[in-house]
Symmetry: D2
Subunit: 80 residues, 4 copies
């Protein structure tokens, strides 16, 4: 029974650590939304900004390769 | 009690209809994966194909506007 | 150049097969939504129905084990 | 032209703020994974822990209502 109490207490501590981290994560997600909203109110387009963030995550080399390939496929399908 | 049986039976019928549809949906998702796999084995790039599918969903006008905006932002950030 | 035309045509065929399948998939997703909507209008709770669909996907044995474990954790945390 | 430089600079600042926040968010997501991994290595079941975290987010009243409804549906379908 003492062992079970220990286990329950340990479980509670793990759960509470996760809850604190989830709360922090939620706060940062809200901050990100706020920056996008601020940019939008300054006239920037949010969807294009998200694409920029994704493109900047890639190495220049990978980005150029992906660009070239997409261009080839779009030309093949007359998609401009 | 008879009423409860009717409700249980009706619930079961709804659930079974959903399950059949979910199964069909799963089958089609698998078919889509198969086509991508076949394209890949023919030398096509799956990631670029997914972009093409998304681009073709857009109206030409919206696609051109999005392209132009992204190009402007990339130039502003020296991202090529 | 003839080779390129062939490749473009083959790419188009792959893309069109995917688009047809995506359309079918969208149709079935809409059907699923319709069944849930019909069930809701008959007084059933959609969220609980989704849980039932998930539970029925599991083998009886796995379901009972998951139930028992959740019960143990809920008791340990006084969560009822 | 000076105006364009200002706009480009402002856009860059928004993008960099978002990138810093995304990095922080990624760090916290990794921390959460680490806590689950630590709990797992102490013998706890991660899937059940996730259910506990979700249940604790709900008000006691909502949780009890959802529990009762699920129990009713499971009984109706003989799903135990």
């Amino acid at each position: 029974m003492a062992e079970e109490s220990v286990a329950a207490e340990q479980l509670r501590l793990f759960i509470e650590r996760i809850e604190r981290l989830e709360e922090e994560k939620k706060g940062i997600s809200d901050d990100i939304k706020d920056v996008y909203a601020e940019a939008k109110s300054n006239g920037y387009d949010v969807k294009t900004m998200r694409k920029i963030v994704a493109l900047r995550r890639q190495e220049a080399h990978a980005r150029q390769e992906a660009d070239a390939l997409l261009e080839t496929y779009r030309t093949a399908l007359g998609l401009h």
